[in-house]
Amino acid sequence: MTTADLIRMANQIAANFAAHEEAEAATAIASHLRQFWEPRMRQDLIAASAEGRAEELSPQVLSALALLQQ
């Protein structure tokens, strides 16, 4: 999948958790990615974040990615 698609989809998930408190949103996004995204998609998103695309991701997604890497 293209990195742009992954970023768009991840930000879209975050937007739908925007009414939640920040920490809860990050946990929910991480859980969603873990439950529904094929591992390669998660890995590619994490890689994209590490390789200079982080500014395209919402803060909640970045927090979620941090949780995924713990």
């Binding site: 999948m1 937007a15 739908n16 969603h32 439950q35 094929e38 591992p39 390669r40």
Partner: protein, 950 residues
Amino acid sequence: MTLLREPDHGTPVKDGAPITLWIDGAEITVPEGTSVMRAASLAERQMPKLCSTDNLEAWGSCRLCLVEIEGVKGTPASCTTPVRNGMRVTTRSDRLARLRKGVMELYISDHPLDCLTCAANGDCELQDMAGEVGLRDVRYGMDGENHFDAASKVEPDTSNPYFQYDPAKCIVCSRCVRACEEVQGTFALTIEGRGFESRVSAGIASDDFFSSDCVSCGACVQACPTATLVEKSVVDQGTPNRTVLTTCAYCGVGCSFKAELQGEKIVRMVPYKDGGANEGHSCVKGRFAWGYATHSDRVTTPMVRDAITDPWRKVSWDEAIGFAADKFKAIQAAHGQGAIGGITSSRCTNEEVYVVQKMIRAAFGNNNVDTCARVCHSPTGYGLKQTFGTSAGTQDFKSVESADVILLIGANPTDAHPVFASRMKKRLRAGAQIIVCDPRRIDLVESPHVKAAHHLQLRPGTNVALMNAIGHVIVTEGLVDEAFVAERCEDDSFARWRAFIAEERNSPEALAPAIGVEADLLRQAARLYATGGNGAIYYGLGVTEHSQGSTMVMAMANLAMATGNIGREGVGINPLRGQNNVQGSCDMGSFPHELPGYRHVSDDLVRTEFELDWGVSLLNEPGLRIPNMFASAIDGSFRGLFVQGEDIAQSDPNTAHVQAALEAMDCVVVQDLFLNETAGYAHVFLPGTSFLEKDGTFTNAERRINRVRPAMPEACGLAEWQVACRLAAAMGYPMDYANAAEIMAEIARLTPTFSGVSHARLDQDGSLQWPVNEQHPDGAPIMHVDGFVRGKGQFMLTKYVPTDEKVGRKFPLLLTTGRILSQYNVGQQTRRTANTRWHTHDTLEIHPHDAEERGIADGDMIRIASRVGETTLIAEISERVPQGVVYTTFHHPISGANVITTEYSDWATNCPEYKVTAVQIFPTNQASAWQTEHEAVLATHYRVAETAAE
């Protein structure tokens, strides 16, 4: 079985206090309100009758069912006389026999005596009654004024492709007219003229059946006691002599049918009265559009080719399966275990779907399995699991009979789920109210004897805003069912939702500009739903196929919980599923993250159970969804796909993207009836079976598991599950079953909600609504009665997030899509029937103002363009759509409706956002580039080499 003739007790069943009476000396107890006719029939004293049948209210016109009642003067009609306690009825006496014979003499004096050459010979109630009353001659002769001799006969109306109307044989019992009104609710038929001139008329005098408002549901034909209204197939072939009980393969209503045959040739499909989903009713598709099963386009020999531009080579099953397995194994060897996957189909049985998902998980060794529910109701699964704990609708269809306020959102049941729509209309005629939430003015907004209390004509893409506005009113105006919420729902999640929804940003006044509906109207609708009695939400793809499809499902669940409209008859959250086995294909573990029974692949206990049973290790991570597969195909990491009965090249969004994905793959295997759009990009074609050849089960939208029984042998020689088993074996994982019942036994063994299901049990009980287990041994028509599956109901926060698909100067209109009555989804089946006469091509509905601005007239060819593609359609000027919104169907491949829909999708499930595409339209006089290319593909990708099969 031999021809199944269902008992007809003459008048409908009633539900009242017990009444005991005596009929011909036999004591019987029946509910209050029951007719004497019905009571007599139940006491095995069947009354002679012509104008009555037990799915219609009594009419009392034929005067054949006269009885004598002790203490009552005269001979009242038993059909219109209700039972009373202690009543003593005589059904047979010399006086009654004389009267009945006299009535029959009058009927027969104006009826052609052509029984031996009549299409209804042996299946005619008039013939039966003449026999029963012992009619031997007609004192009046046959030469008087009549409707059948050459001088007075009106030619039969043969305009309808499936049935004919012959007025010469009509006894004017009005059963057809009443069936059209009471059962179907269309009110297309009437009796025109008076006395001797009375005739059944479809609309005004100039109308024939085809041009009238008749929707060809067949209820009139079924109700007709003579050959006046009769199936053309019966006229052509003769009366059937055996029955196979089975289930329709079209929409998610899942109607039960009697397939009536001569040998292995279908004569007609007749709706089954004991079918729980349809109770004897049908629509034009299930009743009549089954001819595709024997259409000459059926491909019944396996075929292979190395490249998609090569001609197909017909081969043996062994060669085709070996070819596919070798390709798949080579792909995995070169690109990894996750480089292939498969898609299951909601047109296939539970058993077939189960076997395919097992093949993918166990033989392919990955979880890259998805299903066509991805593009329709996947948000339903997600949303209802989050809130209630299970991925299914909460009610049976019958529940609508107890609804007081129906909130209908993004669904058009009269076209897409017609048999359920008839139930709904019946309830509306009885006094329930309906709130229609739809950008289009669908028939349920206003049609004969139906007028919506409110039509919330919202802007496409604003569903969640609408629900939030309604939720805001419920919370801020004190309309919450506090007792229900306190007892049945989570305190924390409710408190949080209550605070969220009460925020001013969720008020009707704040959201009305986005929704496009006045705030006051939103408030009125909210109050009606919350306070109008039993509130029931019914919805379709207009809910799910949005970027917030899952949020919307949760928003609806929030409303139902907040108002206590869940867990009993007449209420609930009711998804109207698009295909007959959407529920079943999801139940069977077709999603990449879930094993059968909606259990996540990461659940070690569950996975271990499957591993032990299947004797193989399973992955604990989710696989690719369909859109992920396409994207991965384009980036080169996904290279092989097994497609069971889904035409992704036509049905999935952004056709160019899908075609590019298919072209990028090394091996695409299609299992289908026809060389469909996807087959143009396939390397292996494995012939499939129609529903008339299948043995197994379908599960409809109300979780009803129904048997599908073969009426004819498989045209291709193998059941679809046998093909999947062979492919799995060729991939290195032996998989074998003796029959479909054995597959269901495995499903029941491994799926707690199906633990009490077996073919034998279904054959005995007719149907079962899951869960069928220790807690619910006979199934559960209504769910969440004493508590939610997840324990307490969970309220979810549903922030309205506008879609990224925006209108602007370049694309100022919003396109939304849907389907119509006569056609079904991509049209592979219905386009191969006479249903095409009602819908020869897809059109684009456009508001007169938008058309005028662009110089477009009705019937003009127009170019419609979005940011991803363009196609051409024929304009249909219509005020059904509001200004700024255009609408089309997608039943014909050449229309290329999905050439313009985009890659945007639901945030949680990736269900495509079919319902919102920004477009512009222009007059044109030439096909689009895609359409020209499509014509070329038809010429190059579908050739079949002349070589014969082994």
